[in-house]
Amino acid sequence: MKYVDEYRSPEIAAQLSAEIAALADGGHHKIMEICGGHTHTIYRHGIEDHLPDGIELVHGPGCPVCVMPMGRIDDAIAIAEQPDVIMTSFGDMLRVPGGRGSFLDAKAAGCDIRMVYSPLDALKVARNNPDKRVVFTAIGFETTAPSTAATLLRAAAEGLENFAVFCNHVLVCPAVQAILDAPGQDLDGFLGPGHVSTVIGAAPYEFVARDYGKPLVVSGFEPLDILESIYRLLQQRVEGRAEVENQYTRVVPWEGNTRALEVIDRTMVPRDAFEWRGLGTIPDSALGLREEFAAFDAERLFDLPGAVVEDPRECQCDEVLTGQIKPWECGVFGTACTPETPIGTCMVSSEGACAAYYQYGRFNRAAATAGAGA
């Protein structure tokens, strides 16, 4: 694991952490990591143990499962309930609660719902089951949209007639803008998402620095990537700069992946508006299938309830997703809402802020260190 260990060196971490503490200089710096993958890394590796008290990391909306509104889950289940349908999706989706339960519940009640690792696997299911209608529930930001797009192109080329996509792809920049426009927003800077940026590049975030005066550093996913990105954010703050920087240059080209963007564009178009969990309805914030791919569009092929389902009243996922509160500040965290009985989406995916905190961070750091001496 040479190429992983390099990015997990405790010695370099200690050095970076000392430099971060010097730059932070006892001040308060509130930094949002947009991406759920970063949230996961932060808790999984205990990165907060390397940060001074004044650095407050708040978790953003970049967890694809977390931003799925309950109504869309109900729509997906309504498709799965149709005769002769095999519903496929990523494993993360299985436990997400809709208004009428989750995929897992629907599966136990008799629906044929299968976990796949890639939309191309869903295509394989379609080929192997010509007498069934196979639907792939596509979720994710621009990161996963190209693979859905490539799958659509493949399905069209093969003339597969029993395959469809229920498209829920969302776009990262409108979500970031919605957070910046929220009243009372007091963020000092952003860790920019890494995987999304491999597709869209770093350039699209320039509005964050230009229009809102906030620094943003596109970051990789290894612990040292995150520490270095925090260091670079603080450096900008200290020097009074607000720019978009790319820490993740080993993977993210500034202008993005033009081939990936092109396949998205060939198959999908921005929707006028899309409902996000926690952020409400945001214009131009999601992708639907192009007219030319209507034959593969589950939204056109099936009758969907299409209802807007209110989140449970006690659920504060909206405030968690916009960084207004920490997971533990939610009234039902860890009691009524746990990973086994999630009320909100943030408690479901391993990239969800509440699930990551519950699973990895739910202990007193001071006591942990004292106990380890035994």
Partner: protein, 371 residues
Amino acid sequence: MSAAQPEEGTGQRSAAEREQEVLDRAERARRRAPKVREERITLAHGAGGRSSHALTEAVFLAAFSNPALDALEDQALLAVGGERLAFTTDSFVVSPLFFPGGSIGDLAVNGTVNDLAVSGAEPRFLSAGFIIEEGLAVADLERIVADMRAAAAAAGVTIVTGDTKVVERGKGDGCYINTSGVGVLSRPVELGARFARPGDAVLVSGPIGEHGITILLSRGDLDIESDIESDTAPLHELTAAVLDAADGVRCMRDATRGGVATVLNEIAGAADVGIHLTEGALPLRPDVVGACEVLGIDPLYVACEGRMVVVVDGAQADAALAALQALPAGAQASRIGTVAADPAGMVLLETTFGGNRVVDVLVGDPLPRIC
């Protein structure tokens, strides 16, 4: 905005204090007797995590409760005449039936042998029940049975009784096997998760996660090539060696479904102790780590079928470890952690990166039907 900002001098509790209160409340909720809330059984109920525990306690224990069962060890200890017997049962539904390093036949024998051996018993007799799907190739069944015969010979057990049922095509997945086993506990030991105490050492008998990753890769859903093989093996020689070397062994558990993390959580919960692991000490094959990274799975949760966790008096840790390492199957045994008083009921991991995190019980298994 309700973000946590301590307000100095107002007498208000600090954010850290409020956070701790929430964590205490969450911990109390976590320890409450689990309930089965679902109307139907889902795959999560069979995954070995919290939902499985809920099902076991709320449905099975509620109905069958008795002292031997309530201990919730991998086997029941029974006094019959002057003898102490260990008795256990396990069902095997792995898909595929054959995989690199073994087959459902190997698992069916080794799994039950190991559940007996970790109590300190000498495994002796097995039963074998087959539920076979119409259409299974007889040659495949013969291969499975040959593997069982070889595994039984290696473990020194005899298959003394059995049963066969055939179900219609589509009502089973080739072949399911149930084995029960009886062992004799002649050593004067009483082992159990509840006996772990602060100062004990936590050992693992070999590299972890190989079986689960093998099964995942052999299903062919992922185009990953590797030469990882299942670790399925009998543990009776290792358990005997550890018990010969150290009289301060508190408990041994084979780390099957839910992996090492699940076993350690069971121990931390049963003994009400904190377990502190050192990530750098976990024995892991590099290709297992690589596969786990790619798949986003934590190897601590991946099943083993021939590895065990040993909790032993800290003063005897070196002797127990040396005894494991002296056998080929334990050559890569490692001391992976320490038992402390706090945080009670929790497993913490010090990462190689120098941070700390909780290692919790899994809610759902990413890899169904691995054994």
